[in-house]
Symmetry: C2
Subunit: 454 residues, 2 copies
């Protein structure tokens, strides 16, 4: 057994239930507040179906995965867990390094784990369409894929500059039958307003969210779909960690540390939450490390405060580590990590010292991605390469100390659509961005003033 490279499970081993950490936290998450009234609220019902709202607040430990969702998971799940034997050798480390590889899904990342579930519940609720926003297209392509398989229409508002500069994910979405429009679009009042200012407005994720939300809010047959941050999204992702736990058992190991990159928190949480449970409930002393970019360090530098979920102050207010909803991160290539806030579950765990965080600059991240590809073949997505970077750093510490630690990380996606960024790295055209202290200070002025009770 112990000389294996890959630990594979059968389709029978796909988890039958998602793990809901709210059952084991031992405390309540702070409430979500309405953006206008600032009163405690649920996810806006015109946008989210009842089943997802129920999951958002459930304290059931295990929530059954509907069989049609498991059937679709079978197209790529269980995903492999690799022992990085060649890389360990190249790093000359006594550490054992494992990575869970979510790039095997057709859209190439962990995102469809929740996209398929969300599409399923929307279909069950009698809806016909889902709308969403996408930046570079990772989330949009996962939702397009899910809608096609479940039998829903899918409308994606894609940030215009990405729509034009990164056409590959747009084409991928079209292959799966989705309708993609560059945002701002003439199809919503907010899109029209921006287009009146500038016919070729480059757009932003904030604008695209507003358009997708407006679309769902004004079509009875349409719900809105979000790819990270929310409790139910993180829960859907726990299939990743539950499988990994079983696979590590096959390898006869338990990790000393588990690592994932964080933007909104979904791939990190999906991978680590089952291990966090062991830590809380069974007293394991696993290190749980969230890796964020220096350009957008919400956990390590943000305030743990109530802030809007979106950039324009229209979404509900959540208590989270935030750099301020008006903060615009530098244009790092890991587009999926450019979020001002963080999933409330992740923040609560960080605030209580159950998980820790590491911060890494862009060039060191790409250096790590190339280093990994040299031994393991797979080219990581720039987001995932953040986790790779910290895995290297920890493996090298083991080399120094001679400790044979077990390091496990989530390789959340491949970089096939991000090779332009690798090219920039090879050509020494990548910039490192320091912590943007002044910009964050400015953004902090705009936090919502919520009642003391909250």
């Amino acid at each position: 057994m112990s000389d294996q490279y890959k630990f594979l499970l059968t389709e029978e081993d796909i988890p039958k239930a998602w793990y809901n950490i709210q059952a084991d936290l031992g405390f309540d998450l702070p409430p979500l507040l309405h953006p206008q009234t600032m009163e405690p609220t649920i996810l806006p019902p015109p946008l989210f179906c009842a089943a997802l709202n129920e999951q958002e607040y459930s304290k059931e430990r295990w929530i059954e995965i509907p069989e049609p969702v498991r059937e679709i998971y079978k197209l790529w799940r269980p995903s492999p867990l690799y022992r990085a034997r060649r890389w360990e050798k190249a790093l000359d480390t006594p550490a054992h390094i494992y990575y869970k590889y979510e790039g095997v899904s057709p859209p190439g990342s962990h995102k469809p784990n929740t996209a398929v579930a969300q599409a399923f519940y929307a279909k069950e609720a009698g809806l016909k369409r889902l709308s969403t926003e996408t930046g570079a297209g990772q989330w949009g392509s996962a939702l397009a894929f899910a809608c096609q398989l479940i039998g829903l229409d899918c409308k994606v508002y894609m940030v215009r500059v990405s729509y034009h500069q990164k056409p590959y994910r747009r084409i991928l979405m079209e292959n799966w039958g989705a309708t993609i429009v560059p945002s701002p679009s003439p199809e919503t009042p907010m899109g029209q307003a921006f287009l009146e200012q500038d016919k070729e407005h480059p757009g932003s994720l904030g604008i695209a969210i507003s358009e997708a939300v407006f679309d769902a809010g004004t079509h009875d047959d349409t719900n809105y779909s979000l790819g990270s941050v929310l409790n139910h999204v993180l829960m859907h992702q726990t299939v990743v960690g539950l499988e990994a736990m079983k696979q590590l058992e096959m390898a006869g190991e338990y990790p000393d540390m588990v690592i994932g990159c964080i933007g909104g928190g979904s791939n990190f949480s999906g991978f680590v939450l089952p291990f966090v449970r062991d830590k809380i409930v069974e007293g394991k002393n696993t290190r749980v490390i969230a890796v964020e970019p220096t350009a957008c360090p919400s956990l390590t530098k943000g305030l743990y405060a109530f802030d809007y979920g979106d950039a324009v102050g229209a979404a509900p207010i959540a208590k989270m580590h935030t750099l301020g909803h008006t903060f615009v991160p530098a244009p790092i290539h890991a587009g999926g990590l450019r979020y001002h806030g963080m999933a409330p579950i992740v923040c609560a765990l960080y605030d209580r010292g159950i998980i820790e965080a590491a911060v890494v600059p862009q060039r060191a991240v790409f250096e790590a991605g190339v280093n990994f590809a040299m031994s393991e073949g797979i080219v990581p997505a720039p987001e995932s390469a953040h986790a790779v970077r910290v895995a290297i750093d920890e493996a090298l510490k083991c080399k120094q100390s001679g400790e044979k630690k077990v390091i496990a990380f989530n390789l959340s996606g491949h970089g096939h659509f991000d090779l332009g960024a690798y090219d920039a790295y090879h050509q020494s055209k990548l910039e490192d961005y320091e912590y943007p202290e002044e910009k964050v200070k400015e953004a902090m002025q705009h936090l919502p003033k919520v009642p003391m009770a909250a």
Copy 2:
């Protein structure tokens, strides 16, 4: 068992030997002829190491796969065999459709099965470098990957127009440490000559081959590496079919037909040759279908004659179905199928009626690729989509006749780097190319005049 989607093998199940069909053909392949003397020859020793030359002519049925090669195979092998349950339903066919998916390798195709083996033998022979040519980059990226893992330098001459228009595979090769130059390059006399005519000469596969061969011929520490056509290349690919056979057994089925696309013949042969053995040796009556593009139909329209392996008449002469070595196929997006000739083993089998061939036009191929992605998620490489097309056609015949046939095909790679071609399809910008009768007639004038004896 029978409700499974994927049939997975363990690392232990990676074949321990390649299957050499020359042991079972019952006839000798026509000799290779020297391009100048036209005398029977072997693969030019300055370009190919002795181990590969031995494999090229061996009649041993099983040739052991060296353990270090199997170790590298473990990074992605055994590859999955899928039962296309969703697609069968969408096609409303009683047929059972299986596909072997080679896109799981880091370079994204079947090509590393032979690249790793070739790099291994070169290293064993004391060489330091391999040189090769690449068009769109599928083969070049496989060899770059293999050289990095084996520990050889890799020099790739990439057709200049692709180097500039399709940078993603070039970047992939650079990630694996290879040196890529646009061809024609200033580094060889033939490159220099073309550049003198035109400083921005777009290049061609023929020129790139000449440069790579010259490089290997003039560096003692360098061999040349070819990604298809040759007997040993086809043999290295039989891991695909050997695994598939075992996986179909797990599914409790034996295929009524096996299907693969053909350009030089390597993915097709790798997949089908073990089934051809059953047909020759055990009398199975499996249909074995090679699928070629209408733009380059060497099996169905070519002459079975002696012709040069390359475009300029410098490579050895082989007996094969050829459209003439001076024939330049239309610019279809399945770049890997644009070869004037065909692997001698494939030709001999076709000539004897052991295998059959189908011809499909470009638009129908992309239509099939999209149709497949809609159900199975995976976006096929344009080459692989040729096999998908015929799988659909056969599945629909089964729908007509009510027959429950078992169809198995090789999905030799993913289309992540070919989405531009899918975009052209969606925008109705793809052309179909008829059989180019006049161009072939012209090219036939230039076949080498070999002695009658050959």
